[in-house]
């Protein structure tokens, strides 16, 4: 759970510095809808593959399922978001893809560190599960940001810490990352209960929470994109 994005509950509405607005890529609603639809379809495909081809699910084999989700989402997310990179003149499509790929392990590391701070088990038995879970988290949180924003610390700070996205693509990135993290955070709640269900194991319930939060954010971000022109209008006044 990447610390910087951890909580949207504490929105610091009164952030002082107005950040420099770059030429942020703005996309139409239909395009945003397509992007989100493709991401959602990717997830569906991953579950379809794991259910029907490997006949497993998150409960029976969490590592492999999470791995499948990651491996299927990886190209979809990177290829899609690289199209909306900032500074198109300086940065080629391939370069955006490249930094997206670099973003995967970095994000995974941050996410897994956050999870360990919050109490994820660190035994060897859980190592692959934590690894694949954080890969998936990384795809939902940092990878789109890496593709679009590159290594721009100011932009990341604006989106994740100040929660002040600018433009429809940033809305998608910001909401989805927050959705995944908050969903995962809530997903950890049932773990200590003594119901003795297999899904209470790490990281199954957290993954369910993450996926649920992510899906909600996919839908919600569309709403924001729809409302976006109006927001911009208000801001200008």
């Amino acid at each position: 759970m990447d610390p910087r994005k951890k909580v949207s509950k504490e929105k610091t509405a009164a952030a002082s510095k107005p950040s420099v607005v770059e030429a942020s890529p703005s996309i139409s609603f239909s395009e945003a809808f397509t992007v989100n639809l493709l991401c959602g379809l990717g997830l569906a495909l991953a579950f379809f593959v794991s259910n029907n081809i490997y006949s497993i699910d998150l409960v029976t084999d969490p590592s492999l399922t999470l791995f499948l989700i990651s491996i299927i989402q990886l190209p979809i997310v990177i290829l899609l978001y690289s199209r909306y990179r900032l500074n198109r003149k300086k940065c080629s499509y391939l370069r955006a893809v490249g930094r997206g790929i670099i973003g995967v392990p970095v994000g995974a590391l941050l996410n897994s560190l956050g999870a360990i701070a919050l109490g994820a088990p660190v035994t060897f038995q859980y190592l692959p599960k934590t690894l694949y879970w954080s890969l998936m988290m990384s795809l939902f949180t940092t990878v789109p940001a890496s593709c679009v924003l590159g290594s721009s610390w100011a932009d990341r700070k604006r989106i994740f810490a100040h929660t002040k996205p600018n433009g429809s693509v940033e809305y998608l990135i910001c909401l989805q990352a927050h959705g995944a993290v908050i969903g995962g955070w809530f997903g950890a709640w049932p773990m200590p209960l003594d119901w003795e269900r297999p899904w209470q194991e790490w990281p199954i319930s957290v993954s369910y929470g993450t996926l649920a939060g992510y899906l909600v954010a996919l839908v919600a971000s569309l709403g924001f994109v729809l409302a976006h022109p109006r927001l911009q209008h208000v801001k200008n006044e």
């Binding site: 610390p3 909580v7 509950k9 956050g114 919050l118 003594d194």
Partner: protein, 950 residues
């Protein structure tokens, strides 16, 4: 005049804390009297010779028996855990037939085919209906409560006089198999025992198969007088599958087969001269269960269980009808089945009477007439032939009851004499008058009639009947009184307590808002900038999660992890904040790392808990394994703490060089450094390698800790004196810092010494954590207007909770580190050892955090803002801290009220309740003390004078 003004000025800031303390005390007192029923365990035991003090006849003097005439030689007790009454009774006794009924047909067949030698009883148990409490009740013949105050504090073994102990004392050999609770309760009393672990509820068969494996061979052996077999399958099947389930029915069928075999074996040996010529078989449940398989409470389903008793010698006769309580029904097969009713309370007294051993000292049961009659077969030979059978029974029963009543009266007298909270005077005099009536009748008429051999039964029988009724009356009165005192929750009291607790919460909120208002017009909670609102919303959110988590047993078990989860979350939020502000990144990352470290320490603590706790048997920690396997660990464990302690001392020494440490504070801190050095010496002498050479062991072991305690006391005294005489010439903020440092250092030496080797490391962790919270608090612009730093106070409180769990404590009595109470002292003295134990348990988690709280205020404001402002802040801060503790405790109280009939109420919720309540009161008291110590008059409201006055 000046002095008076000064006092008033001081009280203006601190009165809310005192009122809070008062309200909490009242609330807790009321709630606790309603909820925690207490009983004192008496350290007295019954002896054979005691009976000569009673007015009754001793049993035949030439016999080797002592109180009553033994009427059975051997006893087989088969306990079927959680045996519902309707498992045993024929379905025709109930309105409708259910699938689980009539599954133990052997018992009802026996009782219908031999009504005089086999009987079914509906046995009424007393709550709490958990196995441990019930076994205690069955064997002591008393009413165990949650807090049985006695010597056994912390260990489950029964030290009170009991049936098993009497068997052991009187040379009877007891063989036990099944549930290992028995061996915990009676560690040394069994001739042989075959215990099996009882807390793995998923395992339906291990205990039962183990029982069966040893039961049948044992039935053929001669080396025992009493055999106890405790089956757990039905209990476990109930917990997992519920009553209406296939596994339950299979279990009952299995039991039916085994009981058939047991009866067959006993029957085959019951001929004259046989092994079981005079054996009594008792098949009983310890409590019932609800249809979901829960038990622990007092609902009819939980308390109604069954006792089946069967004698293998044809008894004399049936009991006279006026003492018989049976009701009969025709069962499905057309046979007449009769069922009597009895109290489980009576079990110990009746069994003791049947075996002829002294009744347990604390038994308040009465000898059950019908069960007692089953043993009457053995009197045939001794009695003269001319008397009617029922007369012989009556005579011997009246005498047994006489002993019984005398023993109960003796217990009640002794209890009232020695217990702090005894019976009320009215109750006692009522008991005394009922007993006097019965005893007078015994002495004046019945005894004479019994001694008069020639007298016919015409005069004797009515007198005996009257006598028996008089004793019944007495024993019933005592049992009723004891029940009302020891088993019923007083819901009114509990409700009032909760009500007052809620009022105190409202008062605290009022006090916080009032303090906030005092900051001035532009700083009310609502008109400030929105980050304050979100920050306090987030605080409330965290507090809400933490409080609501206490409503579930799972979260209570893992409370440390929950607290740490929330602490880490708050750390992540703080990190996010510091990213926004682009400052204090190191501190926030450090704080997050610290909470991660805490989390590992808590896991080690949980693994310790798992080793002793009944609920956490499965938990295994890899950290503990790694830690115990490394040889390097040994050395690290020995030297690192000392090194850290020396570093701490050095750090303190450097701190004293700062200019604002004036005379009392400076000497206090120097005293602490001396204490630290002494502690290092104490540890060196305590370790094996080089301890002995330096000085005699006892000096290092006892005198050094005592010196440390003495220095700490001296320091506190000095601080108090300094408070009285010192004039505050200093800048008041620096003054506050100096005071706080001195106070913390005065406490720290004792706390570290008591915590053992982990002490210095936890101390450093606390300092780092406190420092980080303090610095992160400054993340917002330090403006005078900003009220309420509820977020940092919440972090402070969460961190304190985490430290409690990190230092290897948990909320159960076996989690107390009793060893700490004996550092420096060999012999036990209740008050002294209790204080040491409390300091060890709460040193790092309450005492130091509460006294350290002023740091949060003092470091906050760079410029000198004046006393009034500072003290208003401090008072608000203390009230908020108290509020957080109070909310958590209120939820614990609500939880035990809601869950008072829960299975784990005595194992888990009640200890948690005791710990939390103690924590609340201690926090309140310390806040009050701290308020006296830290606050000074801040009577200058004149803004111009503020800075010059300080």
């Amino acid at each position: 005049m000046e002095e008076r003004r000064r006092k008033i000025g001081k009280w203006r800031y601190i009165w809310p804390m005192w009122i809070t303390l008062l309200l909490h005390l009242i609330a807790i007192l009321l709630f606790t009297t309603g909820f925690l029923l207490t009983r004192t365990e008496l350290p007295y035991y019954s002896h054979c010779s005691d009976v000569s003090q009673s007015p009754c006849f001793p049993s035949s003097p030439n016999n080797d028996s002592c109180w009553t005439r033994p009427s059975v030689n051997r006893l087989v007790i088969i306990v079927l855990d959680a045996l519902r009454f309707d498992f045993v009774a024929p379905s025709s006794f109930f309105a409708e037939s259910k699938p689980w009924m009539d599954k133990l047909p052997i018992l009802k067949n026996m009782s219908s085919s031999r009504p005089s030698s086999a009987r079914i009883f509906k046995a009424i148990a007393d709550p709490p209906t958990t196995s441990l409490q019930r076994l205690k009740g069955l064997t002591t013949g008393g009413l165990p409560t949650f807090v049985d105050v006695g010597n056994s504090f912390g260990a489950p073994a029964i030290v009170e006089d009991n049936f098993i102990n009497q068997l052991f004392q009187n040379g009877k050999k007891v063989v036990m198999m099944g549930d290992d609770t028995w061996t915990q309760l009676f560690p040394h009393h069994f001739e042989r025992s075959y215990p099996y672990p009882s807390f793995n509820v998923k395992d339906l068969h291990t205990v039962d198969n183990g029982c069966i494996e040893h039961l049948f061979p044992s039935l053929y052996e001669e080396d025992w007088d009493v055999l106890i077999a405790h089956f757990l399958g039905v209990d476990h099947a109930g917990h997992i599958f519920g009553v209406d389930s296939t596994p339950m029915i299979e279990k009952l069928d299995q039991y039916n087969n085994h009981l058939e075999r047991v009866i067959e074996v006993l029957e085959s040996q019951s001929g004259p001269g046989g092994l079981h010529e005079n054996t009594l078989l008792v098949v009983m449940g310890d409590h019932g269960q609800t249809l979901n398989g829960d038990h622990g409470g007092g609902s009819a389903e939980e308390v109604e269980t069954a006792i089946f008793a069967m004698s293998f010698k044809e008894p004399l006769s049936s009991v006279p009808p006026e003492f018989d309580s049976y009701s009969c029904q025709i069962d499905l097969d057309g046979k007449n089945v009769c069922i009597s009713s009895m109290q489980q309370l009576d079990f110990a007294a009746t069994m003791s009477a049947l075996l002829g051993i002294p009744f347990p000292y604390g038994s308040i049961g009465r000898i059950n007439p019908e069960l007692y009659a089953l043993g009457a077969g053995s009197w045939k030979s001794g009695a003269s032939q001319k008397q009617p059978e029922s007369d012989i029974w009556m005579k011997s029963y009246a005498n047994a009851l006489c002993i019984n009543a005398w023993q109960v009266k003796r217990y009640i007298d002794a209890y009232s004499a020695s217990s702090a909270v005894g019976f009320s005077h009215d109750d006692l005099s009522q008991i005394a008058s009922v007993y006097a009536q019965a005893e007078n009748h015994w002495l004046n008429s019945t005894k004479k009639l019994l001694l008069d051999k020639d007298n016919g039964s015409d005069a004797l029988m009515p007198a005996l009947k009257w006598q028996i009724n008089a004793y019944f009356n007495f024993l019933t009165t005592v049992a009723e009184l004891a029940r009302s005192k020891w088993t019923e929750f007083d819901l009114n009291m509990m409700g009032t307590g909760i009500g007052i607790m809620l009022i105190s919460l409202a008062f605290q909120v009022f006090a916080i808002l009032r303090a906030a208002k005092q900051h001035g017009v532009n700083s009310s909670l609502l008109s400030g900038n929105s980050s304050i609102i979100t920050s306090s919303t987030f605080t409330l959110f965290l507090l809400g999660i933490r409080s609501c988590s206490l409503l579930s047993n799972s979260y209570i078990l893992e409370e440390g992890k929950v607290a740490n989860f929330l602490l880490s979350t708050s750390g992540i939020v703080a990190l996010r904040q510091s990213v926004i502000k682009e400052k204090l990144l190191t501190e926030s990352i450090g704080f997050l790392l610290l909470s991660t470290l805490c989390r590992f320490a808590i896991e080690v603590g949980l693994s310790k808990q798992a080793a002793t706790s009944a609920f956490m048997k499965d938990y295994s920690s890899w950290i503990a394994n790694i830690a115990s396997n490394l040889p390097v660990w040994d050395y690290t464990e020995k030297f690192i703490p000392m090194l850290v302690l020396i570093l701490l001392a050095f750090w303190l020494f450097k701190a004293t060089n700062r200019s604002f440490f004036d005379w009392p504070w400076k000497y206090v801190i120097l005293g602490t450094i001396l204490s630290y050095m002494l502690i290092v010496v104490h540890w060196i002498t305590g370790s094996d390698e080089f301890g002995v050479a330096l000085m005699p062991e006892s000096i290092g072991r006892n005198y050094i800790p005592r010196i440390v305690y003495a220095i700490a006391l001296g320091q506190l005294l000095l601080l108090a004196c300094g408070q009285l005489f010192k004039l505050n010439s200093l800048d008041c903020k620096k003054n506050l810092v100096a005071k706080t440092t001195a106070m913390l250092s005065a406490w720290s030496s004792t706390v570290i010494l008591l915590s053992g080797k982990q002490g210095p490391i936890i101390a450093v962790a606390s300092i780092v954590g406190g420092y980080c919270i303090m610095r992160l608090d400054n993340i917002e612009e330090a403006s005078k207007d900003r009220p309420g730093r509820s977020f940092s106070i919440m972090q402070w409180s969460l961190f304190a909770t985490c430290v409690f769990f990190c230092s290897g404590h948990w909320c159960a009595f076996d989690g107390l580190r009793y060893g700490a109470a004996f550092i420096g002292f060999e012999e036990f003295m209740l008050v002294r050892q209790a204080i040491l134990l409390a300091i060890d348990t709460y040193g790092f988690s309450i005492i130091l955090p509460v006294f350290g709280l002023p740091f949060l205020v003092a470091t906050k404001y760079q410029d000198n803002l004046g006393k009034h402002f500072l003290f208003t802040q401090l008072s608000q801060m203390y009230t908020t801290y108290g509020f957080i503790t109070a909310v958590v405790t209120t939820f614990t109280i609500l939880c035990v009220t809601i869950q008072r009939r829960h299975l784990m109420v005595w194992g888990l919720f009640a200890p948690k309740f005791v710990f939390d309540v103690f924590e609340l009161i201690l926090t309140d008291v310390l806040i009050c003390l701290a308020s006296i110590y830290y606050f000074d008059q801040g009577n200058n409201d004149d803004p111009e004078l503020k800075s010059s006055d300080c």
